[in-house]
Amino acid sequence: MAGEIYRKPITLALMATVAILVGSIVTMAYPMLRADMHPKLETLRPFTPLQLAGRDIYQREGCVGCHTQTIRPLASEVARYGDYSKAGEFAYDHPFLWGSKRTGPDLAREGGLRPDGWHYQHYANPQQMAAKSNMPSYGWLKGRPLDPVEVAAHLNALGMVHPELKADPAAVKAALAGKDELDALVAYTQQLGHAVQRRQGGSANLDLENPLARDTQAIVAGKKLFTENCAACHGDEAQGTDGVAPSLIDDVFLGAKGDLPDGAYFAMIDGGSDAKPIAGRTGDPGGGMDAYGKTGQLKKDEIWSIIAWLRNQKGHEAAEGHDMPEAEKKP
């Protein structure tokens, strides 16, 4: 009897179909009926027209072939990229862009990790930011116009399943006015992972004192470390670069007047923009400062050496009268 099916092609085809459907139903179709396949975090915001245009470019350029967008709950991965990915972060992702290969780093928490200016420079010439990078240059996106009609059509297609994405062409046109493809890609990059805090604040202590303060050897070492790690954004003399990173030798710290003690410097260099709540200031809402200590790029004494040099530098600059804020000159 069992041998019969090998004589009847249609019966065999039907039986094969049944065999195929069992696993498909249990692991693919049935889960769709469950709530745990459709989670959405309260903090998740829908794409703006510019961000969606950027996402379309991310798809078009196949960035997914080199970059993942999902952080696994492994200690080393959380240390490198930030808090692990949550199911509820991807409700607007049609399709998911988690990827399968990390030729480049994961981008799930890229938003706010670096300033806009950094991304413009990096996309134009990745090797300028990381000499050994193999990422292709995307400078050619600059000046390429966005088509508001097309972007509106895309929003409205997604609007069929997410009504909050529906948009009228005039509003889309206004939102895209003066923007090019590179602007869109940066806008998309900067919202990646926005629904979740990259890192938990931790327990930094603003009262920490610099064990290497005024140590001449440390100051020399700090200067070297600063040139290697920080100057690209903060400038050779820590004077800051417009639109990229603030000056570290003025009287403004994280956007507010008034310097803070060494402990705050340590917290910022160790924990990056995520440490801002500890410093008690908002700084640049876009964020952009990497966690050099927490990601293992700098050791504790290296951070202290840099701070020693910064303090020393600050003294120099003050003596030469550069960038002296009024408040400091008076007394």
Partner: protein
């Protein structure tokens, strides 16, 4: 003997088209392998790594893979049914549409039209083309098998039937999307659900595009070419049903440690381990078939192709389930280990099986012998060295990458920056390009041998007009 009634021209048309797309796909593979260590080799916008990687994968999966599947399945179906195709004109039209579709696919991917889902990149108008092609294929396969002479269907026909129905279900479901323009659409499914559907499809594309049709070829052409009977019919039954049942559960092993619900991941991993059963049933069946007369290794040049092909299938199907385990996935997922694994399957199992089958078919339908066994041997050794060098270097660099990503100091901080881990790949990526050049050289010997065999057949037919 009148072979013409078997629609040999259509079979040969598919084979030659597949070979042509294979050469294109492999050359694109070489180019992207260079771009990974020489970013200056990106030529924006059409020839950048991001756009070309899917041209490579689709070109080989659908150009080489599907082309060979159409051509050789028709050959097998006709022979095992003892009659020509029921709709020969339909098959001719299918051949033309196939070539137009693959050309359009390559161009559209270079233009950046993509759905971004691996092996399902093609945008919706092309998807419709693929579905039409598949329906044409299904009609001819089922019609011809239904009118066969032998009562009993040989195992190769089961595999072809399973391929036809499985690919139809997989392709249609995963390509459900919301059209947003002429060449733009969004996956109907979002986030976690989108990931789950895509890898249900993605893993089974491996199962039903790179496995079942090639098992059909292996178990038809290997006994034919070596003139040995299949070792065990029972093992075939076991392998067939456990594969067809088990494969569909396993997609989640591509999503280990992602936000996909844990129970789905675990289920996927368990069935992944189970897949060793069907795979090794086929491997054992293959070995024991040749085992009836190992002297064939010396006397028949095709024996080594088939034996190494099934060996790589066996290694692949041990490596695969191992990779599914959480501890292993942790280390090697997202690294270069994966291309190392993939290419043992595609270059070792798929391409070797296809080449061996073509070496059998082309002389047969051209009424001649192979042009040169010596060239076939050179081809064999070059692709063997190229493939092993490729896979082994990628395994090493993958483990190194995974280990460096995970390395932490005592206080929990990381030992290496990302760029430090990237820099360590370069020597291995150079070696991979070298391996690719060796493999490509081997494949060019193959192409030459096939073309010369056809020419030799033509010359022979012209010399004895009676045969024409």
């Amino acid at each position: 003997m009148n072979d013409y009634r078997y629609d040999n021209r259509t079979v040969q048309g598919f084979i030659l088209s597949a070979i042509a797309w294979g050469v294109v796909g492999i050359l694109v593979g070489l180019l992207i392998s260079i771009q990974l260590w020489a970013p200056a080799a990106n030529f924006a916008p059409y020839l950048t790594y991001g756009r070309l990687r899917p041209v490579h994968t689709n070109g080989l999966a659908f150009g080489l893979g599907a082309g060979v599947i159409f051509g050789l399945s028709y050959y097998i179906v006709m022979r095992l049914s003892g009659r020509p195709l029921v709709f020969p004109r339909l098959a001719r039209v299918q051949l033309w549409i196939f070539n137009v579709a693959i050309a359009a696919a390559a161009v559209s991917l270079m233009m950046g039209y993509t759905q971004s889902n691996e092996y399902a990149e093609l945008e919706w108008p092309l998807d419709i083309g693929v579905v039409i092609l598949w329906v044409m294929f299904a009609v001819n396969v089922f019609a011809t098998i239904s009118k066969r002479k032998d009562e009993q269907m040989y195992v190769s026909l089961w595999y072809i039937i399973a391929t036809v129905v499985a690919i139809a279900v997989l392709y249609v479901v995963n390509n459900l999307s919301i059209p947003a323009g002429w060449m733009k659409s969004y996956h109907l499914f979002a986030g976690v659900n989108s990931a789950n559907v895509e890898w249900w499809y993605g893993h089974n594309a491996v199962g039903f595009l790179f496995t079942t049709p090639f098992l059909a070829m292996f178990f038809y052409f290997m006994p034919k070419a070596l003139n040995l009977p299949l070792y065990s019919h029972r093992l075939s039954i076991l392998a067939f049903w456990s594969l067809v049942f088990g494969y569909l559960w396993t997609g989640a092993h591509h999503l280990v440690y992602t936000p996909l619900p844990d129970w789905l991941q675990t289920l996927g991993i368990v069935f992944t381990l189970f897949l060793i059963a069907p795979s090794w049933s086929s491997v054992i069946n293959g070995y024991y078939t040749v085992g009836a007369d190992w002297s064939k290794m010396k006397t028949n040049y095709l024996t080594k192709f088939f034996i190494m092909a099934i060996t790589f299938y066996g290694l692949q199907t041990v490596q695969g389930p191992t990779q599914g385990l959480r501890v292993v996935s942790q280390l090697i997922h997202y690294t270069d280990w994966v291309p190392g694994h993939v290419h043992m399957g595609t270059m070792g199992w798929v391409t070797l099986t296809a080449c061996a089958s073509i070496y059998y078919v082309i002389p047969k339908i051209n009424g001649t012998a192979i042009y040169s066994e010596r060239i076939a041997n050179i081809h064999f050794w070059l692709v063997m060295v190229g493939q092993l060098l490729f896979s082994v270097t990628m395994w090493i660099t993958g483990i190194q990458q995974g280990a460096m990503w995970k390395a932490t100091n005592a206080d929990g901080t990381l030992k290496y920056t990302f760029v430090e881990t990237l820099t360590k790949n370069y020597p291995y990526w150079h070696t991979r390009t070298l391996a690719g050049i060796i493999f490509t050289a081997g494949m060019l010997f193959f192409v030459y041998n096939v073309l010369m065999t056809i020419r030799q057949g033509r010359a022979r037919a012209a010399a004895s007009p009676a045969a024409a």
